[in-house]
């Protein structure tokens, strides 16, 4: 993944990297003479996973004391547009849910799982900040290049129109010899200048193209965040299901799992979970 991009402090600069690469290649070539095949086979598989620190104390991120604290935890998340009444009901509900979750957590010993999820949130935030920065930089690069290229194109257009009008005058025989000489020389200058201008414009177009490289890197980061979010969802779902009344747990949904119906373009598992959660929340009075 693109952790290297985020933890810039850990990333050596490219000259250093190149020297390192060359030295390893050189060492490699020597070793190759001795044991070429063994080396290739022994090279370890790729992909490392981002370091997610597990050593944080759970109590730091998940308050376990009074319900009031739990409400405080969730208050800032309430959308500001919601009318006051509605939001107070919602906060109340979230508070209830949080309390239930905490109780269930303790009962079920799921603290470790939730801890993992909680520690992954700052990581996701950093990654999103990185996406915001990269996309902004790219947008600025594109706008800069566009603004720089526009006058070049406009000037060529204006000059071409002017020369064209004068040539028309010439064809209409409204031009004396002196004027024609000027026109010829001016046209020659213009023709000499056009390739320079188009070359410069081309360079700006390349710049605009290169600015799109953010998509590759932000795409990787976004994929990672989707993973984290899915993980969070799964943990919370597991908790809710564990916490559900027995009657509900044994409800019809297991039938759906083995059924052939697959929601077009959708994830069967997710849709199924959605249904179970909806039922659950309903039964719990939410």
């Amino acid at each position: 993944m693109s952790d290297g991009m985020i933890n810039n402090s850990e990333t050596p600069d490219s000259d250093e990297l190149e020297a390192l690469f060359d030295s390893v290649v050189a060492a490699n070539q020597e070793a190759e003479a001795l044991a070429h095949r063994e080396l290739a086979a022994a090279a370890p598989m790729a992909i490392d996973h981002p370091p997610v620190s597990m050593d944080k104390d759970l109590d730091m991120s998940l308050p376990t004391s009074s319900p009031a604290e739990d409400v405080d935890l969730t208050t800032p998340k309430a959308p500001p547009v919601t009318p006051a009444e509605q939001s107070s009901i919602m906060i109340d509900q979230i508070g209830h849910m949080t309390r239930k979750l905490h109780e269930a957590l303790r009962e079920l010993g799921l603290n470790k799982e939730i801890e993992k999820v909680a520690t992954s949130i700052p990581d996701a935030r950093d990654r999103l900040n990185y996406v915001a920065t990269l996309t902004q930089q790219s947008a600025e690069r594109v706008l800069d290049a566009t603004e720089a290229a526009q006058p070049l194109v406009e000037n060529m257009e204006v000059e071409a129109h002017r020369l064209s009008r004068q040539w028309q005058m010439m064809f209409d025989k409204q031009m004396d010899v002196e004027q024609f000489k000027k026109l010829a020389s001016r046209t020659h200058m213009f023709l000499q200048d056009v390739p320079k201008q188009t070359k410069a414009t081309h360079a700006y177009l390349m710049e605009i193209m290169m600015a799109q490289d953010f998509q590759d890197m932000t795409g990787q980061v976004i994929k990672k965040i989707i993973e984290i979010t899915e993980n969070m969802e799964q943990q919370l779902l597991a908790l809710l299901l564990e916490n559900a009344p027995d009657k509900l747990k044994n409800m019809p949904n297991s039938g759906l799992l083995s059924g052939p119906a697959i929601i077009p373009g959708g994830n069967k598992e997710v849709a199924n979970n959605q249904q179970r959660v909806d039922d659950l929340l309903e039964s719990l009075g939410f």
């Binding site: 993944m1 693109s2 952790d3 290297g4 991009m5 850990e10 990333t11 050596p12 490219s14 990297l17 190149e18 390192l20 690469f21 390893v24 290649v25 490699n28 080396l39 290739a40 086979a41 090279a43 370890p44 598989m45 790729a46 992909i47 490392d48 390349m206 193209m209 290169m210 799109q212 490289d213 953010f214 998509q215 590759d216 890197m217 795409g219 990787q220």
Partner: protein, 129 residues
């Protein structure tokens, strides 16, 4: 065969990056470029058609760039192919792993057209020595 006739295979799971690489290669005078979305597709193409140069991303689904590189080096018909890694994996251990697996060059994303040109030329130079 002239250097401009080099048949490139660009391997990256992001289509925007493949297009950027294709355009950059065109800008550098290389018009013969094909694309693959991951190592598995790349390996299929490499075995079905003739290529002279592989430019590959590292982090891809199904088969990543290092696995592709190892597969190329392990294949009698492909092992001579130059492979340039173009990747955001810029940590020391990544560079060492790529070099050990037999990569011919390593370009760190984000990169410029001139960086790509420089690395390509360096590889062409060693190839013709």
């Amino acid at each position: 065969m002239g250097i401009q006739d080099t048949r490139f295979l660009v391997v990256d799971d992001f289509s925007t990056m493949r297009r950027i690489l294709r355009n950059l290669l065109k800008e550098l005078g290389f018009a013969n470029v094909q694309e693959a979305a991951d190592g598995v597709v790349a390996l299929e193409k490499l075995r079905a058609q003739s290529f002279d140069f592989v430019v590959s991303d590292w982090n891809m689904p199904n088969m990543n760039g290092i696995e592709l590189l190892q597969a190329i080096r392990a294949d009698v018909n492909l092992k001579h192919l130059p492979v340039l890694m173009v990747t955001a994996e810029a940590k020391r251990e990544n560079v060492i792993m790529a070099a050990k697996a037999g990569a011919n060059g390593f370009v760190v994303k984000p990169f410029t057209a001139s960086t790509l040109d420089e690395k390509l030329m360096k590889i062409f130079k060693t190839m013709h020595e």
